[in-house]
């Protein structure tokens, strides 16, 4: 492979990923208007194998810097921060660690946000649009380092100085999401 050719491939790749990273959804349709939040089944399904189908439209939120930034803003504005802090937790559990009571897949997190959970996680149904729910859910995933480093914010939004997300290590997701697919 000649050197100029290799360079152009790299440039093309960078441009491609950068494109997706920077993509703004200004048109009416959000990423997932067709994917209502909070409709996936839970961890156990009566009658056998879990019928979970990951939807690429949901994953798209996690690969988009704009969606994550918007998710971060909403995470503060909707008072998630008051209960979960900037991931370390407080009244609610830590969201930056590797332990998930109700599952760490994006659709499970979206379900948590929409439905609420019994030990005091309020339901935000009607307070956020589906599009906003996916954005917040993607941001929640970023607290434990799930998205790639090119889409997360390189400086913390908050004032009291948690480390920037680019320095965060990617936590395994327990219970493991792969075993459920």
């Amino acid at each position: 492979m000649s050197s100029p050719y290799r360079t152009s491939v790299i440039v093309a790749l960078v441009l491609l990923t950068a494109c997706r990273r920077e993509q703004r959804k200004t048109e009416d349709k959000s990423f997932a208007t067709t994917v209502p939040a909070g409709t996936q089944p839970g961890l156990l399904v009566a009658g056998g194998q879990l019928a979970f189908k990951p939807d690429p439209k949901q994953a798209a939120y996690e690969h988009n810097a704009n969606a994550l930034a918007e998710g971060q803003r909403l995470f503060s504005w909707m008072n998630c921060v008051g209960c979960h802090s900037h991931g370390g937790g407080g009244m609610g559990p830590a969201l930056m660690d590797d332990e998930w009571r109700y599952g760490g897949r994006i659709d499970q997190i979206a379900a948590t946000i929409v439905e609420g959970r019994p030990n005091g996680m309020p339901s935000f149904r009607g307070k956020l649009t589906d599009d906003q729910v996916w954005k917040v859910a993607a941001y929640v995933r970023s607290l434990s380092g799930q998205p790639t480093k090119d889409v997360v914010s390189s400086r913390a939004d908050e004032l009291s100085g948690t480390p920037p997300q680019t320095l965060e290590k990617r936590e395994p997701v327990h219970p493991a999401e792969s075993t459920l697919q």
Binding site: M78, N79, G82, S85, G88, G89, P93, G161
Partner: protein, 592 residues
């Protein structure tokens, strides 16, 4: 961990005292029981038992233990009434009666109130319960989801249940009730959730609401009427609970009641403090924010306010004023006065005239740079402008931090030494304010907080304070935040526990550590002392680390985020390496 022994109680040396004694009428002779968290209406937390002394305390041994089956923060004291011990757990607030007349103290009955699980999510700082109250054959309790319940002390059967709090608005109840003048007094928690604070009085017989006073809003809601005579001009005027707030902000302005109430039966007055105003971002609520972060004196029969004093007008730092209030009689300026002794969250030790609310003397008992003093002419705290938080800016090195120089955990007062024994903390913080958005049932804060140890590096302090001369007699530093209340005994000892589970006895004279015992979990619970059915002195305490300071343990929080648990994670990163969850009663006695 060095005790700096200073003047060993020289003042008033003839009586061996500072000159202060428990308020006449509010602290009757000790009957060997422990019937309310404060021990007496004067909130002394003092036992007249003297079998255990500095000379023999090193022989103190475990008499029996009991695991209550829960493992969140245990802040409550056990109660003892005539051969039965009553303990209450944090959420789900299970009450157990233990038979002290039988070997090993087996359970007589258990009562499960079954509070709503969702209430756990709106309890700001762990799902604690600060204790029960006994009166006239009944045990009174509060549940996290806002119920007050009267139980028959013999059978454990519920006599009445009254729902006062509403978790949908973010209200919980964590305080211990106080029964005074035939009323059960209860207040709400939720100052971090934009609730409107109140105190309510229920008829002890029927559970029916007798009166309810809010701490924001128009005078009629605050029960301010013709008998209200605050000492300072800034507390006089019509509807200050509305006018000292931006329009409508009082409706979500806090001023909760989650700490301690004292009672003077001779005057028929209760004394208690109100919580922080909301949101924490003070720029969203210009004004004094009455009646938050201050002290009320009220007529127990009608609830009508008699006086009020605001310790932190327009509070900037979450400095709730709910700490214990000790009723004492002591000389001030050569004259005996009926006073209130208050080691307040803002770091000042206040001595008030009990009748008028006037601040007679005031002095810092911890390190303070957020204020420069208290003006005795106007009664006003003098804030330090340099430490004032502003939106979009980080202010560093604010001392004391949000939990104050002392949080909820009450001091003990010995009428023999006339000294207040203060368990407290030494924390400073950075704060970054931002716009808070009110959504009912979610936090209303607008503040990022990061706490750390104050000057000296120790996070806890135990201080022996002479309230007459307003000075420290000795102090003992503790590495971890000191979150347990204190117990003083006539035998000359003070007891408290540390967050890593050391239960200690100190010599009242000099703070020397004379005895220690390692419990399974850390201690934030209140020790008590009682006379057992066999006539001997016992000391009891619950372990079970937690509370705001122990949130990292009970919530399994992630210490990489120093802003976690409203900023306490920054100051407690090492706690998981030192202790873990628990909930066990330990009872000690001398071999006999």
């Amino acid at each position: 961990m060095v005790a700096s022994a200073l003047l060993a109680l020289q003042p008033g040396a003839a009586t061996g005292q500072t000159g202060a004694r428990s308020a006449a009428g509010a602290a009757p002779a000790d009957n060997g029981n422990w019937e309310m968290p404060g021990k007496t209406y004067a909130s002394t937390r003092f036992s007249a038992m003297r079998e255990i002394t500095p000379g023999n305390v090193n022989q103190l041994k475990v008499a029996f233990t009991f695991s209550d089956g829960t493992n969140k923060g245990h802040e409550a004291p056990p109660l003892v009434v005539g051969g039965t011990m009553y303990i209450v757990t944090p959420f789900p607030n299970i009450v157990t009666a233990l038979d002290l007349t039988k070997p090993g103290a087996p359970a007589k009955w258990t009562f499960k109130p079954k509070p709503l699980a969702a209430s756990q999510g709106v309890a700001c700082c762990d799902v604690v319960n600060r204790g029960l109250a006994y009166d006239g054959g009944r045990i009174f309790m509060n549940t996290l989801d806002g119920q007050t319940i009267a139980l028959d002390a013999k059978s454990g059967k519920a006599i009445w249940r009254t729902q006062l709090g509403n978790i949908a608005r973010g209200e919980t109840v964590t305080m211990a009730p106080l029964v005074a003048g035939g009323k059960v007094l209860v207040g709400n928690s939720g100052g971090e959730m934009g609730v409107r604070g109140w105190i309510a009085a229920l008829d002890a017989g029927s559970g029916k609401l007798a009166w309810k006073a809010y701490h924001t809003g128009p005078d009629k809601d605050v029960l301010i009427g013709p008998n209200f005579h605050p000492f300072y001009a800034s507390d006089r005027g019509k509807d200050l609970g509305v006018k000292t707030w931006p329009p409508n902000a009082w409706k979500i302005g806090g001023g909760t009641v989650w700490g301690w109430i004292s009672y003077d039966p001779k005057l028929g007055m209760i004394y208690y403090g109100t919580g922080n105003p909301g949101p924490w971002n003070a720029e969203q609520r210009p004004g004094d924010n009455k009646w938050s972060s201050g002290v009320f004196a009220r007529d127990v029969a009608t609830g009508q306010a008699r006086w009020y004093y605001q310790s932190s007008p327009h509070d900037l730092f979450d400095h709730d004023d709910i700490n214990e209030i000790i009723l004492a009689d002591m000389p001030v300026g050569g004259r005996m006065r009926q006073v209130l002794l208050r080691p307040a969250r803002n770091g000042y030790f206040y001595v008030h005239d009990r009748l008028t609310g006037q601040v007679l003397t005031v002095a810092p008992y911890g390190f303070i740079n957020s204020a420069t003093g208290v003006d005795l002419r106007t009664g006003r705290l003098q804030p330090n402008k340099a430490k004032e938080p502003h939106q979009g800016k980080v202010v560093r090195g604010i001392c004391p931090a949000a939990p104050g120089a002392k949080d909820w955990n009450p001091s003990a007062f010995s009428p023999i030494t006339g000294v207040v024994y203060i368990p407290h903390i030494n924390l400073c913080m950075d704060e970054g304010a931002s716009q808070a958005n009110y959504i009912a049932g979610t936090p209303f804060l607008g503040m990022d907080v990061k706490m750390y140890a104050g000057p000296g590096g120790n996070r806890g302090v135990f201080t022996a304070w002479d309230p007459v001369h307003q000075r420290k007699l000795w102090e003992k530093t503790e590495n971890l935040p000191l979150w347990s209340p204190a117990l003083a005994t006539a035998g000359g000892l003070v007891f408290y526990g540390t967050m890593d589970g050391w239960f200690k006895a100190l010599d009242q004279r000099n703070g020397r550590e004379l005895w220690w015992f390692k419990t399974g979990s850390g201690i934030i619970g209140q020790p008590i002392s009682y006379r057992g059915p066999d006539g001997h002195q016992y000391v009891a305490v619950m372990d079970g680390v937690g509370g705001w300071a122990g949130a990292i343990i009970v919530g399994q929080l992630d210490a990489r985020d120093p802003t976690g648990a409203l900023g306490f994670l920054g100051a407690t990163k090492d706690l998981p390496s030192k202790t873990s969850k628990g909930g066990t009663l330990y009872v000690f006695a001398l071999p006999h």
